[in-house]
């Protein structure tokens, strides 16, 4: 009865690819010193030929309590760009920080993402997730090889869905150095550490 289909079609739905992990270093810098940091990054990074890359993203963090006795919960992050209306939503899953190797210089956590249609918040609501918090991040993006450096200022909403009236959360900015790579790429951590060293003493990057 079985039709003579080539076997490769069955693999349409399997999620290929290696397990991805996110390697992160974070730091903060006061607003008044941020400009110096941006200058420093401009000198160090790759994508500076055509001027600075700025961004403005809206992130909604959804949580779902798994109903257990402890407050176990799954968090999913929905993020979209506010500059480019036609850009997709991004759904991100960030795993627990991998503590197996204390000597590691950077935070390592499992990372999954998917780009989705704009129905994402409604869909997440429908499958039981509830909005935990949301914020808008504005700032600059730099890249250095595989590494991505985000210098962003975080804003919170004064009223829900009101993008006009935002309130800065702090008077400092978040500096994040991250690489998403298949698990087991340990030399990335060293590269990141070396890069972070070059940002001292402006900002001290450390694992979360």
């Amino acid at each position: 009865m079985s039709s003579s289909l080539p076997g490769n079609l069955g693999s349409v739905s399997t999620t290929g690819g290696p397990n991805l992990q996110e390697y992160v270093l974070q730091g903060t810098i006061l607003d008044q010193s941020a400009e110096a940091l941006v200058h420093r990054l401009r000198a160090l990074c790759d994508n500076v030929d055509q001027g600075l890359e700025t961004f403005r993203d809206h992130e909604m963090v959804f949580a779902l309590h798994t109903g257990g006795q402890t407050n176990n919960q799954v968090m999913l992050r929905a993020r979209r760009s506010l500059d480019q209306a036609d850009s997709p939503w991004q759904l991100r899953y960030l795993g627990q920080t991998d503590l197996s190797d204390k000597s590691r210089a950077v935070t390592v956590r499992s990372y999954l993402d998917a780009l989705t249609s704009d129905t994402l918040p409604a869909f997440l609501n429908d499958i039981g997730f509830r909005l935990d918090h949301e914020f808008v991040a504005k700032g600059h993006m730099f890249r250095k090889g595989k590494m991505k450096v985000l210098v962003s200022k975080l804003f919170k909403f004064q009223k829900p869905n009101d993008l006009q009236n935002l309130e800065a959360m702090t008077s400092s900015r978040l500096v994040e150095l991250s690489v998403v790579a298949p698990s087991g790429s340990e030399n990335i951590a060293d590269d990141m550490k070396v890069f972070a060293e070059q940002l001292k003493p402006l900002v001290s990057m450390d694992k979360v």
């Binding site: 994508n47 760009s81 850009s87």
Partner: protein, 654 residues
């Protein structure tokens, strides 16, 4: 514990923790280090043994034979101090200590030797007697000889060291200033080098980076070079040969030495076209003595050419074409249009002569210095440009939006492929990006087409004087697009008829836009354009006569570019115009065949009939009869239109 125990008390006995605690988790859970297995334990213990200790003693022994027996004691006591010292600070200063001790030994020996040499001239002999002293011991002569040899050897060694020291001291004192200047020069040069090239220090050496990695290259070659100080001898050697010496020396990897360039040839047919070598400053021979800047630039150029060629070769192998691309050694051959090949060759001249005026080999090989049109510098330039673009795109992808998305999508639309549910066809379209080789093939195809067009136009303009062909090339050209305007006119009658057409030359075909708005697509074959032009010329003649006739107030009886009667022309269509003089007495017919040329016929005028009684009206006096052909070569005039002008003028005023 033991159930038979009747005390009624259960004791739980727990052994003491044997394992080391590696980590205590946040919840208080202890993680223990796994105990070492037997073999691991052995390995650990073995690790603690310092094997070098023994060696060290041995080394001490080795130095001893060179010392005289006498100092042995003295030395031993010193060594005793040494060993205790050694025990204290074993690790970090080990090497230093050994060196110091060796030096001390040497100095002691020297001191003794000098003393012996100086003091032992006269008795009392303080130290050693070389001759046989007494008969108590019975040393054979052989033994003495050995001792003598030994002494001699030690003395020689000592003398050598002393001499070297003396020479170096002499030298330092004499050229103290010079050395200082050199040192300073070295650092100056290093500073200058640092301004242009990436350098880093590894251990004691200074390494530089020639690669294009920072600008986005992913080529395997590391492109490292080493920076050293010129040694004294080399410095002098350079001075002797009359070359400006430089205190800084760069050592380039041997495979990057020499000069390279990519040669792009367009070959027509099988025959190898001897192409001339085009002089280029970058291509001139670079000698070993050249300044480091020149040498590094040359080496970097070699690296670039290597990468470019490697990229092209890889693409040539991957790319599927109806006629497969051939990669042989340092050469890529691909067919652009039938019969025409594009040859990309990596030329590398590793021959680094140290003198300036050696004629490069390839000049000797190709003594013909004439510039060959088939070699194309433009293509080479655009190859370079394309690789740089590739580098650039490696580094500068579009920004991911939102910024947390990964860099892997180099195309915004590709990022949207999932959420927009693009189908298979759309995705495969997105994934098709042209590689460098494809781009260069297109460009070369365009160049061939352009050159062929130019040649055909020039040849025809030269060959055909009547009417004139004028060609206007557009000054601004794109790599894949060129336009040319072709005007056909007759001198002196430019304002009458002016046939124009525009040719836009792409990389696959030539589009000709004719005066009447028709668009004709021409293939790469020269014949197509030639035929089109021939037809246009033929039409132009008729058109010109038509305009001329109108201006002479003639009556146009018939005007047609596509004559259906008469013998069929070999090419295209015959065009014809028939005009009558204003008084209606004469009719002139012109028929132009693209291949045969124009024929002009005039209605025979000598057909006067006698007046009869029946036909009285004067209009019957001249009845048209058959046409007769005019021999245009007999008619004066500069060109066909001029001749026609004269002819029609005459006929009109008859």
């Amino acid at each position: 514990m033991d159930p038979s125990d009747h005390t009624g008390l259960t004791l739980s006995v727990e052994s003491l923790q044997e394992f080391q605690v590696q980590e205590i988790g946040l919840d208080g859970q202890e993680t223990y280090a796994k105990p070492l297995s037997m073999s691991e334990n052995l390995a650990k213990l073995a690790h603690k043994i310092d094997f070098s200790e023994d060696n060290d003693d041995k080394k001490g022994d080795e130095t001893r034979p060179s010392t005289s027996v006498k100092e042995k004691e003295e030395k031993d006591s010193k060594e005793g101090v040494g060993t205790s010292f050694q025990a204290q600070q074993k690790q970090p200063w080990e090497a230093v200590k050994t060196k110091l001790r060796d030096a001390l030994t040497e100095v002691s020996v020297l001191y003794d030797v000098v003393n012996i040499a100086r003091m032992n001239r006269e008795p009392p002999y303080q130290y050693m007697v070389l001759e046989k002293v007494s008969g108590e011991t019975t040393p054979t002569t052989n033994e003495i000889a050995v001792k003598l040899l030994e002494k001699k050897k030690s003395l020689e060694g000592a003398a050598k060291i002393l001499h070297a020291g003396a020479v170096s001291m002499k030298h330092t004192s004499s050229s103290d200033k010079k050395a200082l200047v050199e040192q300073k020069n070295f650092h100056d040069e290093l500073l200058r080098l640092r301004q242009c090239w990436r350098l880093k220090r590894v251990g004691n050496s200074i390494l530089g980076d020639l690669s294009f990695r920072t600008s986005g290259s992913r080529f395997w070659h590391s492109g490292t070079f080493e920076v050293t100080k010129t040694t004294e001898e080399e410095f002098e050697a350079a001075e002797r040969r009359g070359i400006q010496p430089c205190s800084l020396k760069v050592t380039v990897p041997s495979d990057l030495e020499g000069t390279s360039y990519i040669r792009v040839l367009i070959q027509e047919g099988e025959a190898e076209i001897a192409s001339a070598y085009l002089m280029h400053s970058r291509r001139s021979q670079i000698s070993l003595d050249a300044h480091w800047q020149e040498r590094l630039e040359a080496a970097q150029n070699v690296l670039f050419c290597k990468e470019l060629f490697a990229q092209l070769a890889r693409e040539a192998v991957q790319l599927k074409a109806s006629i497969p691309h051939i990669v042989v050694g340092n050469q890529i051959i691909s067919s652009i249009i039938p019969g025409v090949q594009l040859v990309i060759r990596l030329c590398h001249d590793a021959n680094m002569s140290s003198s300036h005026d050696v004629t490069p080999n390839f000049l000797q090989a190709a003594p013909v210095r004439e510039k060959n049109a088939n070699q194309n510098i433009d293509l080479e330039q655009s190859l370079h440009q394309l690789l740089r673009e590739l580098h650039h795109s490696n580094l500068n992808g579009p920004t991911p939006r939102p910024v947390t998305t990964s860099f892997t999508f180099n195309n915004k639309r590709r990022r949207l492929a999932g959420p927009l549910a693009l189908d298979r066809r759309e995705i495969s379209e997105l994934q098709q990006n042209e590689c460098v080789l494809e781009k260069i093939l297109k460009q070369s195809r365009h160049i061939v087409l352009r050159d062929r067009t130019a040649k055909v136009l020039d040849d025809m303009a030269a060959a055909i004087q009547d009417p004139l062909i004028m060609v206007h090339w557009s000054v601004l050209q794109q790599p894949l697009q060129a336009t040319v305007k072709v005007f056909i006119s007759s001198p002196g009658y430019e304002h009458f008829a002016r046939t124009s057409m525009q040719l836009s030359i792409g990389y696959e075909d030539i589009k000709a836009i004719l005066k009447d708005g028709r668009t004709v697509s021409l293939s790469y074959q020269e014949k197509d354009l030639k035929n089109l032009l021939t037809c246009q010329l033929s039409e132009h003649r008729v058109n010109a006569v038509f305009d001329l006739a109108k201006s002479l107030r003639m009556q146009i009886i018939h005007y047609n570019f596509f004559v259906g009667v008469g013998p069929a022309p070999k090419l295209g269509n015959s065009s014809a115009v028939v005009v009558a003089t204003p008084n209606g007495k004469r009719i002139i017919a012109i028929r132009s065949d693209p291949v045969e040329g124009p024929r002009v016929l005039i209605q025979d005028e000598n057909n006067m009939r006698d007046k009869t009684d029946v036909v009285t009206d004067s209009k019957w006096e001249v009845l048209p009869s058959g046409f007769k052909e005019v021999d245009m070569s007999k008619i004066p005039g500069r060109n066909f239109v001029h001749k026609m002008d004269l002819l029609m003028g005459n006929l009109a005023h008859e």
